[in-house]
Symmetry: C2
Subunit: 540 residues, 2 copies
């Protein structure tokens, strides 16, 4: 697939001319939000969620040119091509079919002439069956105990999506399984989990596409050593999620079950595959996982089919481009006014920054514009008491506010100042975007609020599995659409390779020192040598 280049799209240059206009005092958000029909024009429902961009620094002409940019770059066609199985991951010559994992249409999707859907359905069915048997007690640990703990061993994309979803839906976790994530190679992580699990009742889910990720292999070694020490047979306590034919799918290393993932699904897009499916089905039941997928599918179809002007992720992506490349904001914050969504920002931080932190187009041309921004966030109102000082009076950054109309927990509703906690939460959610947008004059310079700080507001009816799926798909599609505007490949991640290679060199030096007892580390540059010697000082 050839990407569209910037110079071919006149809308890009036209948009540049609107920057000065938007900087004019009469285009301050204070005025924009008071324009007749502003809210109706700049808010919409789609794919099951509500999106309000009335507090973004856009006006109808800016939006018109952004839509022209989207059309000029053909981003909707590219999205359709992606969903059809074309090799949009050009640098790695792969399709990018996370959407296929939640395709319940019954249609076929062909990659290299073969329909991938039967395999996807087969794996889904395996997950349904396996998790059902664990819940019923048909599958138990080696000593006959029911499984009550599951430890996900995986890093990056192998756990961040699952962690987001399992936190969001924790109130629904009624299957008697406690879920733990063992991601970091820090041995303190293993120590902490060890103290919380019953080895006879623990299922280990090892997740790594290549099954060569050093951190995951190291933690797997600790887990196997732990199981042997506790006298439980790993073959009856381990499942793997890995590529077919990888070391994680090796019959000579027997496990309870090996689930397959596919080369057309990247780690950061993999929560809809077995990577999320196995842990989430164990934790929440397969039915809820499927509801999550169906919510995501609804948003996928909206993203593919809705016209530009009605397309939530596409509009959000265009605003992302506008804020980043034209208005010059280097970061974006995601603030859900819902603590169960506390792992959304870390997940989207990975999804977006790993996808769009690129400097070259898919064809290898150097990008002139800045691509990805820095994503960060914490739940509100917590964030108001943390970093919102800077948002209001310091360096401005655009914010996605997220509200959930109905809380999961309905047990307590004591009133404070005449309102419930949930209403207090919403009083703040309703007020912050306005405060940021309109600002406030004051005689005391320390109390002046400049305003003109852009934000969007996303509303979910509740934290159902469907809505969590919709939200995930929304951000995945926003990420991909932004990449398609720039013409970059959001599916590779060559930027992580150099560190891996250098770490491999050091690992070899360490292994040698461990073996020989000689921790002199001669021949290395002074800086690395210093750290190695310091690390080994207490040891050898």
């Amino acid at each position: 697939m050839a990407s569209q280049k910037r110079k071919e799209v006149p809308a890009w240059d036209k948009l540049k001319k609107f920057v000065d206009l938007m900087d004019r005092p009469d285009h301050h958000l204070f005025h924009l939000i008071r324009t007749e029909g502003r809210f109706q024009k700049f808010s919409l429902e789609g794919g099951g969620i509500f999106y309000d961009f009335s507090r973004q620094r856009v006006d109808p002409s800016v939006m018109e040119n952004l839509f022209a940019l989207a059309r000029g770059r053909g981003i909707k066609d590219r999205f359709s091509a992606m969903m059809r199985g074309e090799k949009v991951n050009a640098t790695e010559n792969r399709a990018a079919l996370h959407t296929a994992c939640r395709d319940f249409s019954g249609a076929s999707i062909s990659v290299d002439g073969a329909d991938v859907m039967p395999e996807i359905r087969r794996v889904r069915e395996e997950i349904r069956e396996f998790s059902g048997k664990v819940h019923s007690g048909e599958i138990r640990g080696a000593t006959g105990k029911r499984f009550s703990h599951a430890v996900v061993v995986g890093i990056g994309g192998s756990y961040l999506g699952s962690q987001f979803v399992s936190e969001a839906l924790a109130a629904d976790a009624d299957k008697g399984i406690e879920l733990h994530y063992l991601a970091n190679v820090d041995i303190n992580d293993f120590g902490r989990i060890e103290g919380r699990i019953d080895p006879e009742a623990t299922l280990w889910i090892i997740i790594s596409k290549s099954y060569t990720t050093p951190e995951t292999l190291a933690n797997t070694e600790q887990a196997y050593s732990f199981m042997r020490e506790k006298g439980v047979d790993p073959a009856r306590h381990v499942v793997t999620v890995a590529a077919k034919g990888s070391p994680g799918d090796d019959p000579s290393n027997p496990v309870l079950k090996a689930f397959h993932m596919f080369d057309f699904i990247g780690g950061r897009y993999s929560v809809s595959s077995a990577v999320g499916g196995v842990p989430l089905s164990l934790y929440l039941g397969y039915d809820r996982f499927e509801r999550f997928l169906k919510g995501a599918e609804e948003m996928d179809l909206h993203t593919r089919d809705a016209a530009e002007e009605k397309n939530l992720p596409l509009i959000a992506a265009l605003i992302g481009i506008w804020n980043n490349d034209f208005l010059g904001y280097p970061a974006q914050s995601i603030i859900p006014y819902s603590t169960p969504l506390n792992q959304l920002a870390p997940h989207i931080q990975q999804l977006y920054m790993e996808s769009n932190g690129k400097s070259v187009t898919a064809e290898g041309e150097r990008l002139e514009a800045d691509s990805g921004v820095i994503i960060f966030g914490e739940p509100g109102t917590n964030a108001q008491h943390s970093f919102f000082q800077l948002a209001h009076q310091g360096r401005p950054f655009p914010i996605d506010f997220i509200g959930v109309l109905r809380p999961q927990y309905k047990g307590k509703a004591a009133m404070s100042k005449g309102v419930t906690n949930h209403q207090e939460l919403w009083a703040n959610l309703i007020s912050q975007p306005l405060a940021l947008a309109q600002g406030k004059a004051d005689e005391n310079p320390a109390k002046v609020f400049g305003g003109n700080r852009p934000s969007s507001t996303i509303v979910l009816e509740d934290l159902s599995p469907e809505n969590v799926g919709r939200l995930l798909s929304f951000y995945e599609a926003k990420t991909v659409y932004e990449a398609f505007v720039w013409g970059i490949n959001p599916f590779d991640q060559y930027g992580v390779e150099l560190g891996k290679i250098l770490a491999g060199d050091i690992r070899k030096k360490m292994a040698q020192a461990n073996e020989t007892g000689d921790a002199g580390f001669e021949g290395l540059d002074p800086i690395r040598k210093f750290y190695l010697k310091r690390l080994y000082a207490g040891r050898l």
Copy 2:
């Protein structure tokens, strides 16, 4: 205290001239780190920790001018003045004496002519005594059960510091008390904690200086309602940490114990006061809390006394200013290669962004330079598998790497690829700063690494309470020193006020709707009206 203004310090303008120099290819970090004596010149020990800034984009001339800037602005004198009790928080006419909370010198510190140390010592003694009696079982719940849960009810500065320290030292939590944080007003938070505690064995620690924080009051209402429902007497299950004479220190509302905090300690600097002291002493024992304070004190004294060229927080602050105002990096990441430090970044995010997210000097003059940056971070190696793609090949941002030489957990040491987990962790920590600094050429444009990405590396011997205290004090001092260079007041937070006022308006509308049943919300602007009606749609 008059702050120094930028124009008076020639070093600022001189530094501008070095920006082009540092952008030259021969000043790329690839070359700088290969300069003779680089590491010796740009790394040092102080206050009990090690700091390496050899991979920052500085050379001796830049450092020289940065030191001249520090001297020109008199920031060391200001720091001494702060520690002596002068009213450095000029806009609020208050001292800023978080350092006094860890002053074990026996000297007096005078504010408005009165020595504050006796009160600080008295509160410390009360914490020691109270936590000791809880641990011995002398103080128990209303039904005679020993306390085994403590819930901290507080938001922002009332919990983020404690959360950082309690996570960092969780391996030392041997007092049989589980600690929970109830910060957000989201009712889901209360629901989640409710399911995890035994009401008869739970101590509630309500923390709010003014005792008027709406979120904290709302959660306090839920807690009281819960206690009454469970038949336990709140007077025997609640302690408060609040200003003397505030509603949290009201004898007509009896509590187990009311601890005082002082107007000269701001929330985000309060973990060394009773705000951190009460929960941390319950969780870890008072002795460990005192060791934490003593580590912080050691770094305070280093910060006050060490010459500019030997002063870790001062150097870190100058590099912060250099990266932000001269090299133009809008964000900074904190990446501890130690999962127990996972709450360091959220805490420093608040500490720094709330302190330095200002647009005016302490005298109310508009700042010409950008003050605070965006702080974000996750533990490594997790972050390598999350957002480091962007760090290596996208938008660059400076990073503080943090390493801990000895892990807390020593139970498991299976080897993978010839190294332990802890060594694997360090292999990565040693390699990432180098990869970021030097980059790598490649024929394939997608595999080119531009390098020249700056970072520092901080090393702690272990995660002792002292070292956690040193690390805290380091970042507090760095934050304050940066503020003193800009001449801003890092101790006020007027930027959070406007949102509070607007939320108060909405709260009133809601309370009225709750009372009258009329949820028409007439008279409001269309946007806020829409959200209110949508929220109430399912309810009234």
